[in-house]
Symmetry: C2
């Protein structure tokens, strides 16, 4: 299998001025995808450089296919690592309960390999490719507002130069807000807040070739256990080891149940030290490799059913659908968003004048149900990882069964995706969880529902 | 497929005097199996008639095979019902999550059909067949004691005539104590108490042909749900509907956690009335058919690794291994016990003088690990039925997967049993749960462990 190392730019969007707010993976992907269709793209990033927080990133085949379309397949693989498989292990016993092989059968089914890559490396590739494709990627500028223009045929975008605080208005055909979980445009659609999951992540990268315990690691390994999990995989062609340790913060959970404010530093080192005592010795021995000076309090938001601010303003990426990380699709969703917008806009342009109001609604109609399902499935998947007691044993057996019986049918909806098919436009119900999960309730919702019903803290069931 | 309607009695045990204590299914089975090998069997039952509490009884193919050996296959099937399948449904939604077909494939794999029968009907058949085979089945007499005789070649058994309280001593080669969960002989091996499960059963039988909601029922149907379940199946060739409603008693559970005595009437009608509110409407509508004047507080005992009181005294049946009911093997275990003893004793007799000490130890070595596994698996199976939240959805999916992937491999150890193979004598580790379940902890134990460790009631996790 070979991967395109250059894309074939087209010109359908020539002359269309599009402003992208935010230079994370979502914004950079969107700028690149649009520039590859000939659009006149300007991306504003408020920081003075393009950078990503965190370390490793998993790109399922649904994402690799897009990177290939953008001519970045080879480069991303060179920069990253193609694991042989993903292995789930019980965090208590270290027993392997499911191996998902990323072999030829996998690649044929999903049309691409499974890739892991450093977030910064991927972002650098996207930024570089965007610039090569002609997009103008500007640092040190925030997009602070945007309104439909007086003629109703475009958008007036307010930008602020961070260096001197000066503000100016620029006009465009379209403003795409990829401005993250704390988006300034999402509140124009819905006034909501991030939903903390009570889980916190510690991360760390280290020297893999000189780590005696990790020789031969060529898998994504996930130890899943009661109230915690631990992920390991190689990056940079095996030069770097990426590790993530995630656990439920007792202080956050207690505050949520008690209806009080959680301490600012929930998930701190003290909690980290106590969070993995019930896991196997190997895993506990690995915790010394984690960074202790920062940690990530993990949150998502409720799925948003409409991403359209107005005919010429659309939210995408984490601004539209910040997920929990459990099905490793946050970055890929943002890449899918960018490709979908570029595709639908260029198709519209091929047929005549672009009706941007139609384009953004079609993007929203296709993407919102899909991303909502990914967000909800991520919540479910996380809860399933973290169960205890008899549930843990039933989960382990369900995983073993999935290996015996073919796990593909759980993944097809996620990885066999092509925005050109407009599956979700045609059948928005695809965005719902499978029938058997209809009455599943996210644990955080369950706690809140009980609190709202006046159940006292000691009687709340988690 | 036809079933033997008469057994072929043999004479290996001619002249061996064996006393069986207890005329339940276990004692009657043992008397029959021994009498069919020519033994001189006397069974003492303290009640004035042979009767069974409860109503329906499930006899898996491992039990039907034994009934066939005893010449009761046809009669038991005539008296009972051969369901087409067993269906598990989610008690909340009524969704069918697993159908286990009792078809030709099933019968060929396990060598017999799956039978459901009224407990009284089965007991009557066993008693009648035991008498036909020459056993002396005596009512109104309790076995109150037993000691090795002075010569060390037999047992002196103390019996009490219930009518007048008179006591006498009778001698025998062997005493088999099938005297139930409150056995007078088990304490000679271990001083333990029944372990209440916190669950209580309501039962009821009703007229099936005139029940408009139940027309066409030809399955064993089990609705399994959070903290409760509900079972339905036909009996007596479809003339009778058997229903069992089981739920966790909040008062018993609270007392257990709090370390106080549970009220005597835990599981009473008041609790029953509130126990199924979260289940589907159909199920709730069926509860009106249950008897309200009695209910069964369900308990088992810890597995017993040695059933031998002395060279000439053996405990069997519920005296040795009272189980929870979840894998429907209590009666069948007792039948297996009887057949195993008769088989091993007759094999020993064929080779010369019977060394009863060796026979009872061999029976114990074969049966104790198997019955221990059945008891432990029943506890696990029950907990799996009763999970809530995300665990319930994972359980449902594990059941769906088991249907897709072939559920047989979960049942082979249970239903493909032949005591003649001496599988457990040869490999006692067969009595352990599968590797992946090694660190599962029974919920009742988990509560007790926390209490023993001084965890306060409000902090105990269930």
């Amino acid at each position: 299998m070979t991967y395109m190392s250059t894309a074939t730019p087209t010109t359908e969007l020539a002359g269309k001025k599009i402003i992208v707010s935010g230079g994370g993976i979502g914004g950079a992907s969107t700028a690149l995808a649009l520039a590859l269709r000939g659009a006149d793209v300007t991306l504003y990033e408020r920081h003075e450089e393009f950078k990503e927080v965190g370390a490793g990133l998993q790109i399922g085949p649904h994402g690799v296919k897009i990177l290939e379309k953008w001519g970045l397949g080879d480069k991303a693989i060179q920069a990253g690592y193609l694991p042989d498989d993903m292995q789930f292990r019980d965090a208590v016993t270290a027993e392997n309960i499911l191996t998902m092989k990323f072999d030829e059968t996998f690649r044929e089914r999903y049309g691409a390999p499974y890739l892991v890559v450093h977030r910064s490396d991927l972002l650098n590739l996207l930024v570089e490719a965007g610039r090569e494709a002609g997009a103008d990627l500007v640092n040190g500028v925030s997009v602070v507002g945007g309104e439909e223009n007086a003629a109703g045929d475009g958008v007036d975008v307010t930008i602020e130069h961070r260096a001197d605080g000066s503000v100016e208005t620029v006009s465009a055909d379209l403003l795409v807000a990829c401005d993250g979980i704390h988006s300034v445009f999402r509140p124009k659609i819905v006034q909501d807040e991030p939903v903390p999951s009570a889980y916190v992540a510690y991360r760390g990268t280290s020297d893999l070739p000189n780590d005696p315990d990790m020789q031969g690691l060529n898998s994504v390994v996930g130890y899943i256990g009661p109230r915690c999990h631990f992920i390991q995989y190689p990056l940079r062609q095996g030069e770097l080891l990426n590790q993530v340790a995630v656990f439920q913060s007792p202080r956050y959970l207690d505050a949520l149940i008690g209806g009080t404010d959680a301490p600012e530093d929930w998930g701190n080192n003290e909690e980290f030290k106590n969070a993995f005592g019930h896991t196997n010795d190997f895993l506990q021995g690995r915790l010394g490799h984690m960074w202790l000076d920062q940690w990530w309090q993990m949150a998502d938001r409720e799925p948003l059913t409409d991403w359209v601010v107005s005919d010429h303003i659309l939210v995408m990426g984490d601004a539209a659908h910040p997920p929990l990380q459990y099905i490793a699709s946050g970055a890929v969703m943002a890449m899918e968003d960018g490709e979908t917008l570029a595709l639908y806009a260029s198709e519209a342009a091929s047929e005549g004048d672009v009706d941007w109001g139609s384009v953004v609604r079609e993007v929203s109609d296709e993407r919102a149900p899909r991303c909502g399902r990914i967000q909800t499935t991520s919540r479910f998947w996380g809860e399933m990882w973290h169960v205890d007691g008899v549930a843990r044993h039933v989960r382990n057996e369900a995983f073993r069964q999935a290996e015996r019986g073919g796990w593909f049918h759980y993944a097809d909806w996620l990885w066999n995706y092509d925005p050109a098919r407009r599956d979700y436009v045609n059948d928005p119900a695809l965005g719902e969880l499978p029938e058997g999960l209809k009455d599943w309730e996210y644990n955080i919702h369950k706690i809140q529902r009980q609190r709202d019903a006046g159940v006292s803290a000691e009687d709340i069931t988690v």
